[in-house]
Symmetry: C2
Subunit: 258 residues, 2 copies
C-alpha cells in the first residue's frame, strides 16, 4: 500500500547504447539530468537486465561456442541452435522441463545457478548488437543493483532502491511479465503476516512480492522495441533494507512445481 | 509501452462496504465524484475480486455446508476445514497439486471451471463479514467487468477498460501478486510478435500479458488491510477491444506444469 495512495512510473529516455565497462549508475544520472528529472529518497530505479548484462560484458558470440555432445542432444529435443543450448547449459543447475520435440515449439525451462527458474536460463538473443551475440544474466544481480544504488547515493545523497528485471513466461498463463532478478535498498517481500484485515481477521498469507510487483509495473514502460531500459517508480510503500532478490526464490524443497 | 512514457496509479477511497446486489459501477462513480476524480478515455479501472464477489452474492457461509466423503478425505490430506474443501471442490474442474500432509502446510492447487489455476479455487475467507463466510470467484468475471464498464460509459461517456483482479501465489517464487481474472474494453495480451526491436531483429516471443501487468501494478495500492478495492491506472498503451481474460489462460495441452 502506498502512503500517498498514488504511484507514478516514468521511463527515462536518453540512455545511450550500453557497452562493456560502462558505468550504468552514471549513465542514469546523466539521462535524468538531461530530462530535468530529480531523484527523491525512496524512489525505485528499475533497470532491464539486458543493459546490465551488456555493461558487465555478459555477452557471448555464438560463433565462438563449441557445443558438447549433450548440448547437441538437448538442442535436437527442443529444436534450438546447439551453440545456444551450450551457453544455456553453462548457466544451468538443473533442467526443470524440456519440451518434447513433437510440439514443434521448443522450450527449455531450467534452474539457474542463482536459483531462478526460467526459460533458456535467461539467455537472450534479442536487441544485442551482432546477429550471433546473446546476453547472459548478470553473475550477481543483487550486487549489480547495489553498485548502481551506491553510485547514485554517492552523487546525489538520495537513498533509493534499485531493481533489475527480466521478462519471463509463466506456467498456466499466456503472455510475458517482468520479475525482479536483482534488488538493493529494499526488502523484496512485504511481510504483513500477522496484521489484521479491515474486519479484524489475522492475515495468514498476504506476503506480497513487492519487488516483483514493481518490476511487473515498470515492464509496462519497457517494451523491447523502445529504447527505455530504465523506469523510475515513485510512491511505493516498501521496507527499506539492504535487501536482495533471494527471498523471492522458493526453496525447491517446498515447491510443488519443480 | 506508454504513449506518454508515464503511468499513474491512484487508489480510489470512499467505497463503502459492498453488499449483495450493490451496483459497483455506480459506487465507483460516486466515490470518484467524492474525491473530485474525473475519468478519461483509456483509463483502466482495476477492481479487487472480493468486492465483485460480494456484490454478486458469491458468498457462502461454511455453517451451511455439508462436506462429501471425498471432501473429508482431501481436507485431511491438506489440513483444511472439510467444509471449506467442499466449497473449493464445487469450483474445481481438476486438482493440479495437493500438498502431502507431512509438510504441515496444506496446499490445494486446482483448475477452476473458468480455467484458472490457483490455490483453493480462489475461495477466500479474509475480509468477509462473519467468521464463517467465504467468497467464491465471480461466475463470469469478464461479464462482471463488462457490466461495470458499460455503466461507467453510460453515465460519463468515457470509453475506458475494466480489470478484475485476484491475489495469487506462483510456482518457484515466494510472495503473492495480482492477476487479471476478468477484463473488458481491452485486449488482455499485447501481441507485438513480428515487430522489430531497436536493432532490427524480429521479436519472436514478446507477447506481453498487459492485463496481468496492470493487475499486478494496481495490487501495490490494494493491500488487503486497506479498504481500497479500486485503483485507476492511466497511461498504459493497450489495444482497445471488447476483450476478455480468456486469452491469458494457457491451453492445458501446451502447459508444461499441469
Amino acid at each position: 500500500m502506498s502512503k500517498t495512495g498514488e504511484i507514478k512510473l516514468v521511463s527515462l529516455g536518453g540512455i545511450p547504447e550500453v557497452k562493456k565497462g560502462d558505468n550504468l549508475g552514471e549513465m542514469i544520472l546523466r539521462a535524468a539530468a538531461g530530462e530535468g528529472f530529480s531523484f527523491l529518497d525512496e524512489d525505485i530505479v528499475v533497470i532491464a537486465q539486458k543493459v546490465v548484462s551488456k555493461a558487465e560484458g555478459r555477452v557471448v558470440n555464438l560463433s565462438r561456442v563449441e557445443p558438447s555432445g549433450f548440448a547437441v542432444t538437448v538442442a535436437e529435443e527442443v529444436s534450438k541452435d546447439p551453440r545456444l543450448v551450450e551457453v544455456i547449459l553453462g548457466e544451468t543447475r538443473r533442467i526443470v522441463r524440456m519440451d518434447e520435440r513433437e510440439s514443434g515449439k521448443g522450450r527449455l525451462i531450467v534452474e539457474t545457478a542463482g536459483g531462478l527458474v526460467l526459460a533458456n536460463a535467461g539467455v537472450d538473443a534479442s536487441n544485442v548488437s551482432g546477429g550471433e551475440d546473446v546476453t547472459l544474466l548478470p553473475l550477481d544481480s543483487d550486487r549489480s543493483a547495489r553498485v548502481i544504488r551506491e553510485h547514485i547515493k554517492g552523487e546525489t545523497g538520495r537513498d533509493l532502491a534499485v531493481i533489475i528485471t527480466d521478462t519471463v513466461g509463466r506456467p498456466w498463463r499466456e503472455g510475458l511479465t517482468d520479475i525482479a532478478i536483482g534488488c538493493s535498498g529494499m526488502r523484496a517481500l512485504s511481510d504483513r503476516r500477522g496484521e489484521t484485515d479491515a474486519k479484524g481477521f489475522t492475515l495468514t498469507a498476504t506476503e506480497m512480492a513487492t519487488a516483483d510487483q514493481v518490476a511487473c509495473a515498470a515492464g509496462m514502460l519497457m517494451e523491447k522495441t523502445s529504447a527505455t531500459p530504465v523506469v523510475i517508480v515513485r510512491g511505493v510503500d516498501y521496507i527499506r533494507a539492504e535487501g536482495g532478490s533471494g527471498e523471492l526464490i522458493r526453496d525447491p524443497a517446498h515447491d510443488l512445481f519443480r
